[in-house]
């Protein structure tokens, strides 16, 4: 099997084959010129999403977390961010220039609106204040533009990742 993964922001090609129970695998970092070593791994899923991995005798306890704030692989004390590869020319590039979505980073209650639909805002200007767990957080405009599609009002409870408005 072959697969591209983005690990801690670095694209990697992973190739592995089953070899009588254990896996032979190679990981090539994008842009790296040196040939990566062929390694032998024994990967056991001991619980759903939890793996015991032996690589050349070294033992790693690996735990995959899929959460609303992203996908992570915890390898012992190391926390590694995992992403699927972004298609070239896809939304990542568009996001920098197109309308910016303002998403809630956490579940919370909207305790104060600082702008109204159609307001012009500068980058970094406060849009609204969310409160969760006795802490208030001001969400700011990711770019200059006009507030559109304002989806919340004071007192609303929003989920993590909820769209609050766009700045166009």
């Amino acid at each position: 099997m072959k697969m591209k993964r983005v690990v801690n922001g670095c694209a990697m090609d992973v190739e592995w084959r089953e070899d009588s129970g254990s896996q032979q695998f190679v990981v090539q970092r994008e842009g790296a010129s040196a040939a990566p070593p062929l390694q032998s791994a024994d990967v056991q899923e001991v619980e759903p999403g939890i793996y015991s991995v032996l690589v050349e005798g070294r033992s790693y306890d690996v735990r995959v977390e899929h959460a609303h704030y992203g996908d992570f692989v915890q390898v012992g004390p190391w926390r590694v961010r995992l992403e699927a590869p972004v298609r070239r020319g896809g939304s990542a590039a568009a996001a920098a220039t197109g309308p910016a979505k303002v998403l809630s980073k956490m579940p919370g209650r909207v305790v104060k609106m600082l702008v109204s639909e159609g307001d012009a805002v500068t980058e970094g200007q406060g849009l609204l204040v969310l409160e969760a767990m006795k802490m208030q957080n001001e969400l700011t405009a990711p770019r200059a533009g006009t507030v559109r599609g304002l989806a919340v009002q004071e007192g609303d409870v929003v989920a993590a990742g909820a769209m609050l408005c766009r700045v166009e």
Binding site: K2, K4, V62, P85, P107, A132
Partner: protein, 500 residues
């Protein structure tokens, strides 16, 4: 001893108190708000009473409802935990008036120590050093400027009624005073319904060291030594320890500060468990800061090193027993640390991260203690404090305690919410921390200076392999690119091997 006690709290402290009640054969009554119906403290209690909606002003802070719940269930006493109504003199008084024992000090002690200005006056009169500053709350900008000029900048503005960093502002020059005064008073008003603010000289790079005291209702008072709580963010403690690294170098300080704490507590007619907080400057001068008239979050580190159970002691004292322990019986063994595991994102200004716990593994083994208020599958509500659990350890030396804590943090995993577990793991490897050079600005410095070690290549390789294998099976993190897009690494390496 009591036969039934209501615990006027939630989360880990309610669970911790209920464990002690069960050990004493006392039935426990939980109170809960609408979002806490399935909370661990409700599940652990013998009885449970609904007291209102999620908003704590309508439930956990609602004195008549809590008192009513105690009376209706036939509880003889109320344990307030920490936070919520624990330092509310009106609540303690309401309990007493309703014929309930308040497991804590007298309403009068709470009242006198609850006002920071009154507490400072009590301490000063008892011969306990306090930070130079105004005798009472300032009433005008002019007065504030005059006091600041007299004690010298920088100065701190503090809420007279509160704690936890709310209403606190550092003022470095006269020009900053007006705005700071307005902000501090506003925040204090919102947090404590009391906008009064007082001024103190700012102690630079101070340690925050507190003394645990314990007293019975017959005037016997002892201290159980110190806890160093200098590691704070937004004036909230995150790591506490005993002994303080300072006491290792200057052991006489424990006795000096202990005696000062006892003078302050005695002046307030204090009984039950309480904590006297001090600032300690770089010349090891210590200044009375405030008294917390309740059990502290970080009491486990004192329990580890003294071998005492503070909630057991609270129950004995509240039921009218005399202290059997004398000051000379108190001994300190080894070293203990506590990390507060919060549902917060330490990489993003400790942003709260409420949500559902989708996986939970807790550390165990020798010298490891977890005080938790959550369980697998529980949705941490957004309405309350983000404390998930307190992880505390004990070992022969501070070095071993740090090593034990690091191992325990590695064993700890909470999925579904962001936590401070990884943050603590980094902190405990910090040279300054390991050297014990602590002060309340430590974390700000740390974030500015820290360089996280790069993830080793072998770790990334393992992560990439597992991530890819999971994605290839259509796991949640798939979005796999088509196999043809990836070049054969075997071919490139010219290592075409035959695989069985």
């Amino acid at each position: 001893m009591f036969t039934k006690v209501l615990v006027a709290n939630r989360g880990e402290i309610a669970v911790r108190v209920m464990r002690a009640l069960k050990e004493f054969g006392i039935a426990s009554v939980a109170v809960y708000s609408d979002v806490d119906r399935g909370a661990l403290h409700v599940r652990m209690a013998d009885e449970a009473v609904a007291i209102g909606p999620a908003d704590s002003r309508e439930s956990y802070l609602n004195i008549p409802r809590v008192v009513d719940a105690a009376l209706r269930t036939g509880a003889q006493a109320v344990h307030p935990g920490y936070g919520f109504l624990s330092e509310n003199a009106a609540f303690a008084q309401a309990c007493v008036d309703a014929g309930l024992v308040f497991i804590g000090p007298s309403p009068d002690s709470i009242r006198s120590m609850g006002s920071k200005t009154a507490a400072r006056a009590i301490a000063r009169d008892a011969g306990v050093p306090t930070v130079p500053g105004a005798a009472g709350a300032v009433t005008s900008l002019e007065e504030a400027l005059a006091v600041a000029a007299a004690v010298g900048y920088p100065v701190l503005l503090k809420a007279a009624a509160g704690g936890g960093g709310k209403g606190m502002r550092l003022v470095e020059s006269p020009a900053e005073m007006e705005a700071a005064l307005r902000d501090a008073a506003g925040e204090a008003e919102r947090a404590f319904h009391d906008g009064r603010v007082y001024i103190e000289k700012a102690v630079l790079r101070p340690r925050h060291i507190e003394i645990q005291v314990l007293g019975d209702q017959y005037g016997n008072l002892i201290h159980l030594g110190e806890r160093e709580c200098s590691l704070q963010r937004r004036h909230q403690k995150v790591i506490e320890e005993c002994p303080s690294p300072l006491m290792r170098e200057y052991p006489e300080l424990r006795q000096q500060m202990g005696e000062a704490a006892l003078r302050a507590a005695r002046a307030a007619g204090y009984y039950n468990a309480g904590t006297v907080e001090f600032l300690v400057d770089e010349q090891r001068n210590f200044y009375f800061l405030e008294m917390n008239t309740r059990l502290q979050v970080e009491h486990p580190v004192t329990e580890w090193v003294t071998g005492l159970d503070l909630v057991h002691e609270q129950l004995r004292i509240a039921s009218g027993e005399r202290l059997t322990l004398r000051q000379e019986d108190v001994r300190w063994h080894g070293a203990s640390l506590e990390c507060r595991i919060y549902a917060e994102d330490p990489e993003n200004h400790f942003f709260p991260s409420p949500g559902r716990i989708t996986r939970l593994e807790r550390p165990a083994g020798p010298g490891v203690r977890v005080d938790s208020g959550v369980y697998l599958g529980w949705t941490i509500p957004m309405e309350y404090d983000p404390l998930i659990a307190k992880l505390s350890v004990h070992a022969a030396t501070r070095e071993l305690a740090i090593a034990r804590m690091r191992s325990a943090l590695e064993e700890y995993s909470v999925d579904g919410v962001k936590t401070t577990i990884g943050f603590f793991h980094h902190i405990l490897q910090d040279e300054e921390f390991v050297a014990g050079r602590l002060h309340t600005g430590f974390l700000a410095d740390y974030f500015a200076r820290r360089e996280l070690p790069p993830t080793p290549r072998e770790i990334e390789d393992v992560a990439a392999l597992v991530g890819a294998m999971e994605a290839s099976r259509g796991g949640p993190a798939s979005g796999a690119s088509a196999p043809t897009q990836v070049r054969s690494l075997w071919k490139e390496r010219g290592r075409l091997r035959s695989f069985r």
